[in-house]
C-alpha cells in the first residue's frame, strides 16, 4: 500500500467512522458557504435590480430637437439605435399641440404619444379605465375630465387649428397666411428663396428676395432692383411671368424662379390651412398622476398625425437603466454622434437616484460584510470544537510514532476535504437562496455567476484549514502521555 493510498484511507475512514461529528463540521461549513455565495450573488445583483425599480420614477433622459431642426420619428429611431438595447427601458415620443374642443370655448394641451412606451417610461401613471388601444381613442387628464365632465366611454370632438396666423376676411377662395415663404431653382440649379407678406385680401404687401446664390451682375440684381420688386406689390397669387410681372432683363431664369417660388409657397399654405381638421374620439380612461399631466389629453401618435398632417415630434422621454456616470457618457456619445437631437438629463431623477442607490448598495455591502464575518467566525469555532475533541486520537498516533507533520497533514487534509464538500454544497444552496430572494423581491431571476463556485470552495477550504490548525497545533504540542491520560 502506497503512502498516498494510506493517507486517503485514513481520511475517509475517519470521516465515515465519526459520522455524526463530521456531519456537524460539514453542516457548519455548508452554512457558511451558503451564506457566502448567496449574499455575494445578491450583492452583485442588487444594483441592477434596484436600478430597474428606480425606473418607476420615470424618464431620466430627454431628447430635444437641435435648435432650428425638427425631430422626426426616423431621427429618434436612429438616435435610439446608439444606446445599448438592454439598458433602454423605454423611449416615449411626444408631440404637443393645442386642440380646441369643437363647439366649446375650451382648448387643451394634447400630447400624441406611443402608449406601449408610456407604460414603460411613466409607470406611475394611473388610469381609471384603460389605455387607448385602437385608433381614435384618447386618454383624458383628471383635471380636464372633472371640468368638462367626461369619463371613460364618453366621446369628444377635437379640432386642430394650425398655429400660423390666418386672416379672417379672406377675399379669395383660399385663406391666405400672413406670410408665405418658398424657394425654387434658378440659374445653375441654385435655390432662390422668396418671402412675401400678404394683406388681408391676399395681396402681396411686401417681398424679400434672397438670390445670393445667383450670378451677382445678372440674377443677383433681383435682390435690389426696386422697379422689378414693385411689380409684385398688390398682385394676387398665383402669378404668371410675362402677364402679371415682367422678367428682369438679363435675369430671366432667376425671375422665373422667383415666380415659381411664390406660386409654390401658395400651394403649401393652402395645404396648411386645409389641415384644420376635426376628429371624433372616444375617451377610454381618465389619467391620474397628481402632476401637470392631469391637464393634458393624450392620443396615439398616428391619430395626432392624422389630425395635424405632420409627422414630427417635440420631445422624447427616455428611461435608461444606468447610473449617473454612464448616463453622462451616453449624453456625450449622443451629442458626438450628432443625429440632430440634443440629449439632456433629468437632473431631479438622475441626481436623487445616484444618491439613494449608492446608499442602498452601501447598505447591502455592509450587511453582507458583517454577516459574512460573523458566520465565518461561527464556522471556525465549530470546526475548532470538533477538532479539539480529537486530542486523544492525536496523542495515540503520536505515541505510535507518527511525526507531527504527518498528523498536521492528515488533519488539514480532512478539514480541507470537508471545506471543499461544504463549499460545493453551499454554492448550490446559496444560488437557490439568491434565486428565491430575487424572484420574491424583484420578480426576476438571476444568472449563475460561475466564478463564485471556485471562490466559495476556496474560501470554505481556507476557513476549514485555518480553524483546524489552531487546535491541531495545541494537540501536537502536548505530551502524548498527558493527552492519553485524559488531562
Amino acid at each position: 500500500m502506497t503512502k498516498r493510498k494510506m493517507f486517503l484511507r485514513m481520511i475517509t475512514a475517519s470521516l465515515l467512522r465519526r459520522r455524526s461529528r463530521m456531519l456537524i463540521a460539514l453542516l457548519s461549513i455548508g452554512i457558511g458557504a451558503t451564506i457566502l455565495s448567496g449574499l455575494v450573488t445578491i450583492y452583485y445583483d442588487v444594483p441592477r435590480q434596484m436600478g430597474a425599480q428606480f425606473r418607476s420614477y420615470g424618464a431620466n433622459m430627454i431628447l430635444l430637437p437641435k435648435d432650428g431642426t425638427v425631430l422626426t420619428p426616423d431621427t429618434l429611431q436612429k438616435t435610439l439605435a446608439l444606446l445599448p438595447e438592454e439598458e433602454l427601458v423605454g423611449a416615449t415620443p411626444y408631440r404637443y399641440v393645442r386642440l380646441d374642443m369643437t363647439r366649446r370655448q375650451q382648448s387643451f394641451t394634447s400630447a400624441g404619444t406611443d402608449f406601449s412606451q408610456v407604460v414603460k417610461t411613466s409607470p406611475y401613471f394611473s388610469v381609471e379605465g384603460e389605455y387607448p388601444q385602437h385608433a381614435r381613442e384618447i386618454l383624458v387628464g383628471k383635471e380636464i375630465a372633472d371640468t368638462i365632465g367626461v369619463k371613460a366611454g364618453s366621446s369628444m370632438q377635437l379640432t386642430y387649428k394650425p398655429t400660423v396666423a390666418v386672416s379672417e376676411n379672406a377675399a379669395d377662395d383660399w385663406v391666405p397666411l400672413a406670410t408665405v415663404r418658398g424657394s425654387a431653382e434658378g440659374w445653375n440649379t441654385s435655390l432662390v428663396a422668396v418671402t412675401a407678406t400678404l394683406d388681408s385680401e391676399a395681396r402681396i404687401a411686401s417681398i424679400t428676395i434672397d438670390a445670393s446664390s445667383q450670378t451677382e451682375e445678372y440674377g443677383g440684381r433681383t435682390q435690389t432692383d426696386e422697379a422689378f420688386q414693385n411689380q409684385f406689390i398688390g398682385k394676387k397669387l398665383p402669378l404668371t411671368l410675362g402677364e402679371d410681372v415682367d422678367a428682369l432683363s438679363g435675369a430671366t431664369v432667376t425671375s422665373t424662379a422667383i415666380v415659381n417660388a411664390l406660386n409654390h409657397a401658395r400651394s403649401v399654405s393652402q395645404a396648411a390651412v386645409a389641415t384644420e381638421r376635426t376628429g371624433y374620439y372616444t375617451v377610454t380612461g381618465v389619467l391620474v398622476t397628481g402632476g401637470e399631466e392631469e391637464s393634458y389629453v393624450f392620443m396615439s401618435l398616428e391619430d395626432m398625425e392624422a389630425l395635424t398632417g405632420e409627422s414630427r415630434l417635440d420631445v422624447a422621454e427616455l428611461s435608461v437603466s444606468a447610473n449617473a456616470a454612464q448616463l453622462e457618457e451616453y449624453v456625450q456619445a449622443l451629442t458626438d454622434a450628432d443625429t440632430g437631437v440634443t440629449p439632456r438629463l433629468v437632473k431631479r431623477v438622475t441626481r436623487s437616484e445616484t444618491a439613494v442607490l449608492g446608499k442602498l448598495q452601501a447598505l447591502v455591502f455592509l450587511v453582507t460584510a458583517v454577516v459574512l464575518l460573523l458566520t465565518m467566525i461561527c464556522v471556525s469555532t465549530t470546526m475548532m470544537a470538533v477538532v479539539s475533541e480529537r486530542r486523544r486520537e492525536i496523542g495515540l498516533r503520536k505515541a505510535l510514532g507518527a511525526s507531527d507533520n504527518s498528523i498536521r497533514a492528515e488533519f488539514l487534509g480532512e478539514g480541507m476535504f470537508l471545506g471543499a464538500l461544504g463549499g460545493v454544497m453551499g454554492s448550490v444552496l446559496g444560488f437557490v437562496f439568491a434565486q428565491v430572494v430575487s424572484i420574491n423581491v424583484f420578480g426576476s431571476s438571476i444568472t449563475f455567476q460561475p466564478l463564485l463556485l471556485p471562490v466559495t470552495v476556496i474560501v470554505s477550504m481556507a476557513i476549514a484549514a485555518v480553524s483546524c490548525l489552531l487546535p491541531i497545533k495545541r494537540a501536537v504540542a502536548i505530551d502524548p502521555a498527558l493527552v492519553l491520560k485524559g488531562e
Binding site: 448567496g38 428606480f54 439632456r344 461561527c378
Partner: protein, 431 residues
C-alpha cells in the same frame, strides 16, 4: 452540589465554555444587528427618498384649473382662489404631523425685465424659519426641497441675511439670455409694482425652472399686491406604501366602514395625509404626486423585503451555527456524562446540570452579543445613512427567545443521545 458542579464546569473548562459563549455572542449580535437594521430600514430609506422632492401638492379648491386649461397665464386679473400663508403652520398640527418632513409655498407671477422680456417669477420660502403653534420651530423651504439644483455661481438665497427681500435667484437660461451675473442689480416690473433686486445666485435645475426667477414669497406678494396669499404648497411627507385599503380610501374615504376608516386615518398612507391636510387648510385640495409617492412605495417595499430575506438567512445561519456547536460540545462530554451515570446520577439530573451550564453560557453570550449587535447596527447606520439606527426594544425578546430555542434544540437531542449510550462503553473510549 448542583451549583458546585456547574461552577466547576464553568471555571475549569473555561476555554471550551468561552468558545461556546463567543459563538453564541456572534450569533446573537448578528440577529440583533440585522433585526434592528431591518426594522429601521424603511424609515431610513424613506428619508433618503425625500431627495426626489415633494410627494404631495396642495392647491386651492377652485382655481387650480384656470391657468392650465384656459391658457390665460397671468392669474392676477382673474378672481383666482388662493391659500392663506398664515395657515401653513397648521400642516404640523395634523395627526401625522411628525411625518411631514418639509413643505414650501409657491406664488408665481409674470415680471417684465429691463430688456422687455417677460419671465415667470416664483415666490417661495428658501430656509424660512417658522414658529409653530405647538411651540416647536422649524426651517422649511426650497433649499432642502430642490436638493438637485446646482447653484452654479453665487449662493442660495438666505432668509437670515438682512437684505434677502431684495434678492433673487435666477435660472441658468434666464441668466444666459439676459447676460446677468451674480451681484447685478436689475429692475423687475410686475402687475402691481416694481423693485430693484440683486441677483444672489444662478442655479441649474435641469428642467423648466431654468427659465424662471425665484424670489422670496414676501417679495412676490408685495409686487402683486397679494398679501398672505399662496398659490400652491409642496409637502414632503414620510409615507407608508399604499395597499388595497389605501387605494379604496383614496377614491372616497367616506365609503369605508368605520373600522377601516380608523385604520386608514391612523396609518401614514399618502391618501390619509392628503385628507388630513385638506381638513387643516381651508379651501384646499391635496393630491399625491404619483411619480414620487408611487415609486417611493415600490422602492421601500423592495428594500424592506430584501432586508427581511437577508435577515432571515442570517438568523437561520446563526441558529444553525449555534445549535451545531452546542451539539458538538455535548457530544464531546460523552465521557464525563458516562462517568456521572456510572456513579449513579439519574438521567434527568444530568440533563439538568448540562442544560443549566449551557444556558448560563448562552445567557452570558447573548448579553455580550446584544451589545455587539448594537455596535454593528450603529456602524451600518452611521456609515450608510449618517444617522443612528433606532434600537427597537422588541428586538430583545426576539433575540432572547431565538437563542434559548436554538440552544435547547441544539443540546437536548445530543444529551439524549449521549445518555442512551452505556456508561461502560463511553468510559472505555469505544464509540
Amino acid at each position: 452540589m448542583l451549583f458546585r458542579m456547574i461552577r466547576g464546569v464553568l471555571f475549569h473548562q473555561k476555554g471550551k465554555m468561552l468558545l461556546i459563549a463567543f459563538t453564541i455572542a456572534l450569533g446573537a449580535s448578528l440577529a440583533t444587528g440585522m433585526l434592528n437594521v431591518m426594522l429601521d430600514v424603511g424609515d431610513k430609506v424613506s428619508q433618503e427618498l425625500k431627495t426626489y422632492g415633494a410627494n404631495i401638492t396642495v392647491k386651492p379648491k377652485d382655481s387650480s384649473l384656470l391657468s392650465d386649461i384656459y391658457d390665460v397665464g397671468d392669474g392676477e386679473e382673474m378672481n383666482a382662489a388662493y391659500l392663506k400663508e398664515d395657515e401653513l403652520g397648521k400642516l404640523k398640527t395634523i395627526f401625522w404631523a411628525f411625518n411631514i418632513v418639509d413643505f414650501t409655498p409657491f406664488l408665481d407671477t409674470q415680471v417684465t425685465l429691463p430688456s422687455g422680456d417677460t419671465v415667470k417669477m416664483v415666490g417661495t420660502w428658501f430656509n424660512h424659519h417658522l414658529d409653530l403653534p405647538t411651540g416647536e420651530s422649524l426651517d422649511a423651504g426650497v433649499v432642502s426641497m430642490r436638493s438637485w439644483w446646482d447653484v452654479t455661481s453665487g449662493k442660495w438665497l438666505d432668509e437670515k441675511d438682512e437684505n434677502f427681500l431684495s434678492e433673487i435667484m435666477v435660472g441658468t437660461l434666464v441668466a444666459q439670455q439676459q447676460g446677468w451675473q451674480v451681484g447685478d442689480t436689475v429692475k423687475l416690473t410686475a402687475a402691481r409694482g416694481e423693485k430693484d433686486v440683486t441677483v444672489a445666485g444662478i442655479f441649474d435645475a435641469g428642467g423648466d425652472e431654468d427659465g424662471q426667477i425665484f424670489a422670496t414669497l414676501d417679495l412676490v406678494q408685495a409686487l402683486t399686491d397679494r398679501e398672505n396669499k399662496v398659490a400652491s404648497i409642496e409637502v414632503s411627507a414620510l409615507t407608508t406604501p399604499d395597499n388595497d385599503l389605501a387605494r379604496r380610501a383614496a377614491r372616497n374615504p367616506l365609503a369605508l366602514s368605520s373600522r377601516d376608516y380608523e385604520t386608514w386615518y391612523c396609518t401614514a398612507y399618502v391618501s390619509a395625509i392628503c385628507y388630513q391636510i385638506q381638513e387643516a387648510i381651508t379651501g384646499s385640495v391635496a393630491n399625491a404626486v404619483r411619480q414620487v409617492a408611487e415609486s417611493e412605495g415600490a422602492i421601500l417595499d423592495k428594500t424592506q423585503l430584501l432586508m427581511i430575506l437577508i435577515t432571515a438567512l442570517s438568523l437561520i445561519g446563526s441558529a444553525l451555527g449555534i445549535s451545531n456547536l452546542v451539539t458538538a460540545s455535548v457530544m464531546e462530554r460523552a465521557q464525563e456524562i458516562g462517568l456521572l451515570k456510572a456513579i449513579g446520577a439519574r438521567d434527568h439530573s444530568i440533563t439538568g446540570v448540562v442544560m443549566t451550564e449551557i444556558l448560563i453560557t448562552a445567557l452570558v453570550g447573548s448579553v455580550a452579543g446584544y451589545f455587539m449587535g448594537f455596535g454593528f447596527a450603529q456602524l451600518i447606520g452611521h456609515s450608510v445613512f449618517g444617522s443612528a439606527v433606532e434600537m427597537k426594544p422588541m428586538v430583545i425578546p426576539i433575540v432572547a427567545a431565538l437563542i434559548a430555542l436554538v440552544t435547547i434544540a441544539g443540546s437536548m437531542p445530543a444529551i439524549r443521545m449521549v445518555l442512551r449510550l452505556r456508561p461502560a462503553e463511553v468510559l472505555h473510549g469505544g464509540h
